[in-house]
């Protein structure tokens, strides 16, 4: 997530909440204030976009995903819509209902820059890694 420059904001929290926040921040090795900001931001987004939640994946990335299909990132849905001839085709390709597709696209509409950047980052990584693999395999065709 990308944020504007932070502003101070005072908040009273239950001691048990503070304890759990500290423990989780320690487990993740991030400052507690960073984790708190992420959790508030994610919570607000999930309230605004029912059907979306956030998942930490095997390589450590945390992504906006479909709550009922947690391995489907919003960016996966957007890519499929971009590559398809229409929304029905995209929904069929991912075996999603039109409601679920709409939830992902609703989130995309609000956080388009973030999702577009996620897609671009992923394509850059994949292109680089594939090229390296093909070089190793001696099969490069430029």
């Amino acid at each position: 997530m990308r944020y504007m420059p932070a502003k101070p904001y005072s908040l009273r929290l239950d001691p048990s909440t503070i304890r759990r926040l500290s423990e989780e921040a320690e487990r993740l090795r991030v400052p507690a204030r960073t984790l708190a900001q992420d959790l508030v931001e994610e919570g607000l987004r999930m309230r605004r976009h029912p059907g979306i939640f956030f998942v930490t994946r095997a390589a450590g990335g945390r992504y906006a995903s479909l709550a009922r299909r947690p391995r489907l990132k919003v960016s996966n849905v957007v890519e499929t819509v971009q590559d398809s001839t229409g929304l029905d085709e995209a929904a069929g390709s991912l075996d999603l209902s039109r409601i679920e597709l709409g939830q992902a696209l609703g989130y995309y509409a609000e956080f388009r820059d973030e999702i577009d950047a996620e897609i671009a980052r992923e394509e850059e990584y994949v292109d680089r890694e594939e090229r390296l693999w093909r070089e190793r395999q001696g099969l490069v065709t430029r």
Partner: protein
Amino acid sequence: MRLLLDEHVDPDVAARLRERGFDVVALTDDAERRGSSDVAVLERAVAERRAVVTYDVRDYRVLAEERVLNEEHHFGVILLTRRRFRHGREHAGKLVDGLAALLLQNPTDEALMDREHWLSRG
């Protein structure tokens, strides 16, 4: 070689490969497993001696490498790129052909054991 298609691969691809006589299943065909974690998907693939076919390069490489480092083995991770294989049913034919060619060249379950393979067009 047998395949397990990841959740963002069109299940129609699995159906079309099965029509050609290959042993291919799609995660989306199994409603109970749709919400599975990355680890659970790879474990299922290993249990069924299948290679995983995925666009999710970053996460599966980590999991596959961990398995190999722990001497647990896997039956291959076949990596797809959107540049070569676009999503959507209209483009599914290219993916079907690419996977069919790979399956014909690699008939045994162990052909891609503990390896990654970036799929080319068939």
